[in-house]
């Protein structure tokens, strides 16, 4: 990001409260053209509310935001030509076919028919959906629905794309298609802000921010976040990871514990020095484990650690 490039999305102090809760609390950040910016956070963190305000469908209480140069707080309609928003809940018409949905959104954005046909053919091809054009949207699989949502969102060449957990509940193949399409957009200079529930997806973003209780806790590239992490991570493989996690909760000084597919990540200060003590504890508790070594932290380790130590100072 050179200083000469203007951000496509600027957010300053965005705040929104609902009765009894401050859903978004002073969020500030910029997203640049050609960048995929990931917004990660637990349920209720305020991701959807943030995206809604940026999409101009929900007025913020405070703060400002510009999308493609237009002020979305004072004139939410101005940015809508350059923007597309894919809500968390499937927002297309299930009783319309794939083509009819695309055409509808094309027409709303004033895309000319021949332009639309060319663009949708190309996008559907990339989504692996070319043969489903006549199928009702409601009859598509979850992954196909989300890809159709993306196709509709891209039909008018938006400058800014806001995606709310677009791949939640989507099969791995469709997720791969989805991300391939997103990467193709980088070349077009599109700015993409996406929330995600998958932390492995966060690693694919150019920059990520962790949202927690309405605030952004971290904000940087995945690599810098990891290298700047003061604590270390031990990976312990086990056939009974859950029991091991329970057992490890007794060990003092552990910052947080993250279940992985085949074991547990232990976030702890000075990890190598602690290995003998942890081993002894597991042996005495007769918990089976095979391997224990220090690893590079994942984004998930970072975020779980930030959220859990912020919440209770202990383990999650």
């Amino acid at each position: 990001m050179t200083a000469a490039v203007q951000p496509a999305l600027t957010i300053r102090g965005l705040t929104k409260s609902f009765p009894g809760i401050r859903a978004v609390d002073g969020v500030s950040c910029d997203v640049y053209p050609g960048e995929i910016f990931g917004l990660v956070g637990p349920d209720g963190a305020g991701k959807t509310t943030t995206l809604r305000m940026l999409a101009g469908v929900m007025p913020p209480d405070q703060g400002s935001a510009t999308v493609a140069g237009s002020d979305v707080v004072h004139d939410p309609e101005a940015a809508k030509h350059d923007l597309s928003y894919m809500p968390q809940r499937f927002g297309l018409y299930e009783d319309l076919t794939v083509d009819e949905n695309i055409r509808f959104y094309g027409d709303l954005f004033g895309v000319r028919a021949n332009e639309r046909r060319a663009r949708s053919a190309q996008l559907l091809e990339a989504a692996g959906m070319s043969e489903f054009r006549k199928r009702l949207a409601g009859k598509l699989s979850g992954g196909m629905k989300q890809k159709l949502g993306l196709v509709c969102a891209l039909i008018h060449h938006p400058k800014v794309i806001l995606l709310d957990e677009p791949t939640t509940g989507v099969d791995p193949v469709s997720r791969r298609d989805f991300w391939r399409i997103l990467y193709n957009l980088i070349a077009e200079g599109v700015a993409i802000l996406t929330s995600t529930a998958y932390l492995d997806e966060a690693e694919r973003c150019h920059r990520v921010a962790l949202m927690h209780e309405g605030k952004l806790l971290f904000l940087d590239t995945p690599a810098k976040l990891k290298s700047g992490f003061a604590k270390g991570v031990l990976a312990i493989l086990s056939s009974d990871a859950r029991r091991m996690k329970e057992e490890l909760k007794r060990v003092e000084g552990i910052s947080s514990l993250v279940l992985t597919g085949d074991g547990v990540h232990v976030v702890i200060e000075d990890p190598v020095r602690r290995i003998p003590q942890i081993k002894a504890q597991l042996v005495s508790a007769q918990v089976p484990f095979s391997e224990m070594r220090q690893v590079v932290p994942t984004i998930e380790d970072l975020f779980v650690d930030a959220v859990t130590s912020g919440r209770s100072g202990g383990q999650g």
Partner: protein, 377 residues
Amino acid sequence: MNPNRLAAIATKEIIHIRRDVRSLIIVVLMPAILVLLFGYGVSLDLKHLPVYVFDRNGTQASQDLLKRFQSSNYFRIAKVANSYPELAQAIDSGKATLAIIIPHDFSERLHDGGPVEIQAIVDASDDNTANLAVGYAQGVLQGYSSDLQVEWRERRGLPRQFVPLSTEVRTWFNEDLESSAFIVPGVLALVMTVIGAFLTSLTVAREWERGTMEQLISTPVTALEIMLGKLLPYFVIGMVDVGLSTALAVYWFRIPFRGTIATLFLSSALFLIVMLLLGFFISVIAKTQLAASQIALIVTFLPAFLLSGFLFAIEQMPVFIQYVTRVLPARYYVSALKNIFLKGTPVEMLYADLLPLAVFALVLVLLATRAFKKKLA
């Protein structure tokens, strides 16, 4: 206002209607079903209308005739009067719907084989009730006269004719025809209510419910384009259904149509616009289809059915209810319809019906456009 976006919304709405069996049935079959239902099934009965009688003959024969009135379900002899002014006053004050005057030479002329003229005065303030009352009175008189004819022929040893029987049948038929002539035009109000308010009440609510509204309002489409685009298809459908229902009423049920097609369509368009806006407004505030359809039922359909004067004369309702009917758009449309169908009232004479409808339309335009925002709560 961008015509392409408007067309996109309208086209999408038409696809929704086409793909939804429920909507299709309502749009295509419901008007015919309602016209047939009310054309065939309903014989509207005004029961026990108050009648003043002035019997200037005072014979057994005249008493027989009056007994017939008394025993028919349609009339109730409220008073035996002694003068014309008394009758006039009773009619004016609404104490009587109908006054019957039996001429002083009634029995003599009957004896001579007639013809005898029975004078009837009706309260014309409610045209429909008046017409019905006259129709029923004619029925009673015809029944009486055919009985007399039978007696008359028998007394002279003439062979029995089947005239009485056919007269009897004709009375029935007449009664039925009178009723459907009053009811069937009003069916249009029901049709317009269902299409206008009920179906449209579902359209916006459906988008909120299914989550499609959130994406829709993130596009450049304006609130006005959404509103008009959604209402336009229903407007066209409603007008087509007006034509179809009217054709069915006129050609199948032989309902008289004395007005002009232009007046009918103009009045119907006005009422339909009121209903569409009301349906849209309900849809915007209700946010769920179930709530919207229930509100639409209670606010539009039931009143159109019960309180519009479609089935039950407003003048016969309790005074309080009569006031309530004044805020019901359907009341004015039903009245306009009856005027157009049965009296051929020209459009410039329909201001008492059309003006209130125009006012409703204006108020609802303001309400609906104000209520619908491109915003989440």
